[in-house]
């Protein structure tokens, strides 16, 4: 747990749902975490977790086949040193029971993104997406 009291802050940004947006998602996160003065090592981990979640939206919720104008929204909020990252998209509804990573000892390409997210974050929760959104994923981490 961090000894720094991070200021309360909320920021959100919309991105086109495609793989070339992932760099923009990372840069957005880095900018926000800079403002929150999150230490470098933790910042790298959080950026990875968020980018993996965004990648899952592109890869699974839209199966790499999004309409050119389709958007996903990433919202980062910090309140009382608790970081919450929310994702909103209008892709195929996610069945949380089917979201699993591969067995870590069964070495093969793929299936690591969800593992990284779970390793880095304290909690991963799919909530009901309120209109116009279909999926609403929330990642949390106590700073």
């Amino acid at each position: 747990m961090s000894e720094i009291a991070h200021q309360d802050h909320v920021e959100k940004k919309a991105f086109l749902v495609n793989s070339s947006s992932l760099k923009d998602v990372r840069n957005f996160c880095r900018e926000v975490f800079e403002k929150l003065q999150i230490q470098e090592d933790l910042k790298d981990e959080l950026v990875l977790a968020i980018a993996e979640a965004a990648q899952n939206i592109v890869k699974h919720a839209f199966k790499n086949n999004a309409n050119a104008n389709e958007l996903m929204v990433v919202q980062i909020s910090c309140e009382n040193n608790k970081l919450q990252i929310a994702f909103y998209d209008r892709g195929t509804p996610v069945d949380p029971k089917k979201v699993k990573h591969r067995e870590i000892d069964n070495v093969k390409p793929g299936g690591l993104g969800t593992f990284f997210i779970q390793e880095i974050m304290d909690a991963v929760e799919f909530k009901d997406g309120k209109k116009p959104w279909i999926n609403h994923l929330v990642l949390t981490k106590q700073l």
Partner: protein, 99 residues
């Protein structure tokens, strides 16, 4: 992502540069795999890669496994601290050839 390849004898050295994510994995495979398929030993220099996600890790696993099939090897060299951390998170530091 940009790259540079040098070949000397049976060794192809591939220098990758930039951030390796889902957007560039196909390009990374196009650069690396032909050398493995030609039976070359591939030295993958990652000193200028500061970010790698699960897609990039998949390229490393696939490269390693392809090399085993071809009786050669992929050696990952000069990995940055941030990428090493991701490799370790995936528990691959004993599986991949790191130097």
């Amino acid at each position: 992502m940009s790259y540079k390849v040098t070949e000397e004898g049976n060794v192809a050295t591939v220098h990758l540069d930039g951030e390796i994510d889902m957007d560039v994995t196909e390009k990374a495979k196009e650069v690396i795999f032909p050398h493995i398929e030609a039976g070359k030993e591939v030295h993958l220099n990652l000193s200028n890669v500061q970010y790698m996600d699960s897609s990039g890790i998949s390229v490393l696993i696939e490269s390693h496994q392809k090399a085993l099939e071809k009786n050669t090897k992929v050696i990952i060299k000069d990995v940055s601290k941030s990428v090493l951390k991701v490799i370790m998170m995936a528990k691959l530091e004993q599986i991949l050839n790191l130097e």
